[in-house]
C-alpha cells in the first residue's frame, strides 16, 4: 500500500503545456479544449505597460488534488467516486450516473465529462496506464521539460517526495477548506 502524492516545483513551469498533451496521449483523454485532466493556470501580469509586476505573472500547473477528504467522493450518491488502496481518487464508470454533484463539489474544478463513457472523469495519477505497468512516474512528470513534478509515496520516508516535503517549504491549494489536498506546491 502506498500513499501517492505529488510535489510541484511550480516556479520551474514555463506554461508550455507538455504535461497536458502527454496526459491526453497516455490516458486517451478526449480531444477538446474543455476536456482535460490536467492544466496550467496562468495569472495575467498586473500593471500597465511597460510597468508590469513580474512577480504577479505566475504559471500554476494543476490537476486533481487527490484530497484526503475529497468533497467529490463525499457527495457521490452512487459511490462511483472512490479511493483505491494507494489513496488515489478514482471513478467507477459503471456506477457513475452523471449527476455532476462531484463537479460542483470539487473546489479545484478538476472534473469533466467524458462523453464516450458517460462518466465524470478525472486525473488517475496514471493508475490504470503507467502505474499498472509497473512504471514509477506519471506521464506529466516524465515529459516535463523543466521537471516541475515529483510523484511518489508519502508513506515511504525514503521517497523523493518525502525528502522534498521535509526539506522544502510548501503549500497546498485552498487548504482552509479542509480537503487535505495531496498536491504540494514547493516555494
Amino acid at each position: 500500500m502506498a500513499n501517492y502524492a505529488m510535489a510541484l516545483d511550480y516556479k520551474n513551469c514555463i506554461n508550455c503545456k507538455a504535461c497536458e498533451v502527454a496526459c491526453k496521449e497516455e490516458n486517451g483523454v478526449l480531444k477538446g479544449a474543455d476536456k482535460h485532466r490536467i492544466w496550467v493556470g496562468a495569472n495575467e501580469v498586473k500593471g500597465e505597460w511597460p510597468n508590469l509586476d513580474i512577480v504577479s505573472a505566475t504559471f500554476v500547473p494543476s490537476q486533481c488534488q487527490h484530497c484526503e477528504e475529497a468533497p467529490c467522493q463525499d457527495v457521490c450518491p452512487t459511490n462511483a467516486t472512490y479511493y483505491n488502496e494507494h489513496g488515489v481518487v478514482l471513478v467507477n464508470a459503471e456506477m457513475c450516473i452523471l449527476c455532476s454533484y462531484c463537479m460542483n463539489a470539487c473546489p479545484y474544478d478538476a472534473r469533466y465529462v467524458d462523453d464516450r463513457t458517460a462518466t465524470v472523469d478525472k486525473c488517475t495519477f496514471c493508475s490504470d496506464t503507467r502505474l499498472a505497468r509497473g512504471e514509477t512516474t506519471t506521464a506529466c512528470q516524465n515529459t516535463c521539460p523543466t521537471k516541475v513534478r515529483t510523484f511518489g509515496d508519502l508513506d515511504d520516508p525514503n521517497s523523493e517526495i518525502s525528502e522534498l516535503l521535509r526539506t522544502r517549504e510548501h503549500f497546498t491549494l485552498k487548504s482552509h477548506l479542509g480537503t487535505k489536498p495531496k498536491l504540494y506546491y514547493l516555494t
Binding site: 514555463i14 501580469v45 505597460w49 521539460p145
Partner: protein, 825 residues
Amino acid sequence: MKIEISRRRFLQGSVALSVVGGTSLGLTSVFAESEEHGSDMVTTKTGTGPATEVATLCEMCVNKCAALARVENGVITKLNPNPMFPKSRNMLCPRGNAGIQSVYDPDRLKYPMIRIGEKGEGKFKRVSWDEAYEAILNGTDKFPGMAKILDEEKDNRSSFLFCAGEGMAEHTFKTFFSAFGSSNWLNHSSLCLQTVTSGYGVTIGAYALADLENAEYVIMAGANRAEAIVTPDTMDIFKRTKGRGAKMICIDPRFTNTAAKADKWLAINPGTDLAFVLALTYVILSEEIYDKAYVAENFNGFEEYKNSVLSNKYTPEWAEKITTIKAKDIYEIAREFMAHAPKAVYYPGRRSTFSNNDFQLRRAMAIFQALSGGIDTKGGLIFGKKLKLGEHEGLEPIYARAESRAIEKVKGEKGQSGYEDCAIVAGGGSWISWRNRYIEDKMPYKVRGMFIYKHNPMMNMPNIQKTAQMMKKMELVVAIDTMPTDTVMYADVVLPECTYLERTDPVKTFEGAEPAIAQRNKVIEPMFETKPVIDIMRGLTQKISKTLFGITKKYDEDVRDELALLESDPLSEDNNATTAVKKTLEQREAEVYAEFDMTKPFEQTQEEINEHIVKAIYGEGAVKALEEHGVFYPNMDRFFKQISANEHQYYPEKEKSYRVGNGKVKTESKKVECNLQAMAEKGIDPMPVWRDEYNFSVPDSKFRLLTGRHAQFTQSGTANNTVLLDLMSENYIWINRKVATEKGIEFGDLVEVSSSIGKTRLKAYPTEKIGPKMVFFIHGFGEESEALTWAYKNGGNDNAVIEDAIEPVYGASSMHETNVEIRKV
C-alpha cells in the same frame, strides 16, 4: 488495449484504400475521406499488454529531441522522452508529445499524385509511383517533363531550382541536388538564422552554445526560450531563475513567458537592440572593467573598436533615447555582467532576422561577450566537442553546360556573381532576392523547374502573392512532403514522404559540453504508399538517370570529347593495346556514365549507410546502441546513470567539454575579429555602428508588426495538429490594451491587419504585455490549402502582410520592418 474509434476506423480505412491500389479516385478521396473528419476522438489510451519501444528522434521542430515510441498492435500509442540523450535531457515538449497526430492525421499525403487542374487549384489525380516518376521525366498534357526542359535548355542543369527545409534527411535530398548538377539551392537559412550564425561566425569563428547550466548571469534579449523552446537551453535555464542560481535579464518589446520567469524585464523598441549592446560595451570600455588579459591575447582590431564606441559616444544616456531602456539599467546590467564574468552569457539566440541591422547586432553581441572573457569556458559561451562520424560517398559530377547560380552577375564575369541588394550570398542563398528576381525576369538564364523537399515557400516567406507568382511561373514543380500544404497545392507532381516515425534518417552527431551521436529509427512501417525520401530518390534516379545522361551526351562538350576519345581509342592508340585490357565501347561508355550515374548515392538503405559510417569509427557496439537506445557516445555505459526521478548524469563533471581550445576563438586568426575590412569593401560597416535609419519610428495610426514563435506550434508545420489546437485554437493579435479600448476592440473581435502588400484577419487579444506602437501575432496560421481540414483559413497569416524587406549583408528577410494598420471588422 483500447483504440479510439476514429483511429481504428482510420487504420481500417487505410487498408481498404491501399487495396484499391492504382485505380483513379475522385478528387476528394485523394485527400482525407470525408467521414474521417468531424470526429475529435484522436487520442489512444496506452494499454497494459505487450508493447514494443523504439528509440527515435522527434521532428516536430528542429531540436531533434530523443523519444521512445510505444507501439501496441502496430499502433503508436505514446511518445515518451528518451532519458539517454544529453541534448534533450529526458523531456518532450507539447509538440513532441503530439507527434503521434502527424502519423494519424487523416489529411496527410497518402499517394503519389499528378496535377489535373489549373496550377494552384489543388486538383490532383492519384497515380502509381512509377507514373509519378514518369510524369517528372516526360511530363503530361498539363506540364512539361524534365527531359524536355533540359533538352531545350541544352543541359543547363541550373534550369532547375532545389529547395529544402531543415531536417535530418535534408542531406539526402541535397545529395540528389548535387548529383543532378544544378547550382540553384535555397534553404531556410535566409528566412531563419542566417545573420546570427554568420555574425557569430565571422566574429568568433562559430555560432557558439551557451552554458546555461552554469551561467550565473544571463542577458536574454530578443530570445524567448520559454516559448521558442531550444534544448537543452530551455530546460537548463528555467530551473535556475528566480533566485536559484542564475540571474536573468529579459529584453523584449513584449512581456513573454520568458519575461515572466526573469528577474528583470525591460521593454525595448523593436530593432534597437544594437544600441543597447553598444551602450553596454561603452560602459565596460569607459570604466575599463572588461577582461584586459583576455582581450590582449585574443582580439584583433580592439583599439579601433574601442575608439569607435567611445568617440561615437554610445553612452547609456544616448541608448535610452533610442531603446527606451533607462540609462541606469544599462549601467547596472553592464557592471553586473562583468562582476559575474566569465560565468555570464549574452544569449546568442536562434531566430529569424528581425531588423535590417541584425548582422551588426550579432557582431556587437559576440564582441561584448568576448570582452568579458566568457568564451570557451564553463558558464559562458562554449564551443564544446563534436564526435566524428564516417562519411557516405555522394556524387558531384561536373556538367559543362550547368550555369553558376542564377543571380545577377557582377562585372559580367562567370562565377563572380551576387545580388545587387546583398553583399554576400551564403550557401543557402537569399530566398527573397532569388524569388523577386525570378518573377521580375531578371535571371541570367531560364529556370523552369523546381524540386521542393519538406519546405513550404508559400507559408514561410514574406509576401505570399509574389511567392504564388513564382510557383505559377515554374513549369514543373515537384513537391516531396507529408502534408497537403499551401505549397503542395502548386505542385505538378506530389511525392508523399512518410512521417518521421515511419523512417530511419541519417545518423547525426550533436556537439556540446556533453557530445553525443543520435539516430532516428523507424518506429512503424510507412503507411499508405508513402516512402522515406531516400527511397523516393532511389526510385526517381533509377527512372531519370540514363535519359538525362543522354541529354548530357548531346550537349556537354566535355562528355562528348571524352566519349569521342574513347571511340577513337582502339584505333589511334593501338600500339598500347598490348598492355591495356581491351574494353568494349559499351564498357567504356559505362565508365563515363558512372561519373554521372545519379542512382549511386541511393543504392544502400539508410540503415546500411548509418551502420557503415558509425562502425568505421566506433565499432559494432555503437551501431547496436544507436538501434537500441537511439543514442551513443564513448563510455556511455559507464557514464550514463539516473540520479533521481527527474535527473540523469550523462558525463561525470570532469569529463564534460566546457573548454576545448584554451579560451581561443575559432576564427582563422584565432582572434576575435572586431574590424572586418573585407566587409568594408562590400559596402558593409566593418565594425558595428549605429545608423540613424535604424531608429524605431512608426507613423501615427500605424503599428510595427512583430511576429514570433510559440511553445505549442512550429511555424506552419503543426497548424493542422488537432491536439495542439486544443491548447490554442488559432493565433490572436496582441494589441496594447489602451489602444484597443480607443479603437473599441475587445477580446475575440475580428481584426483586419493590412500593409502595403496585403491583408489578413484574426481575432484580437488586448493586453498590457505589448506597447502602444506595435502589434504581434505568431507565425504559421491562416493557411489557404483546403486539404488541411483544421488549418484552412484558421487564424491570420503574417506573411500575407510582412513586406519583403531584405537585410543588406546576407539578403535575409527582415521580419520586423513592416508597419501595419488595424481595424475592427
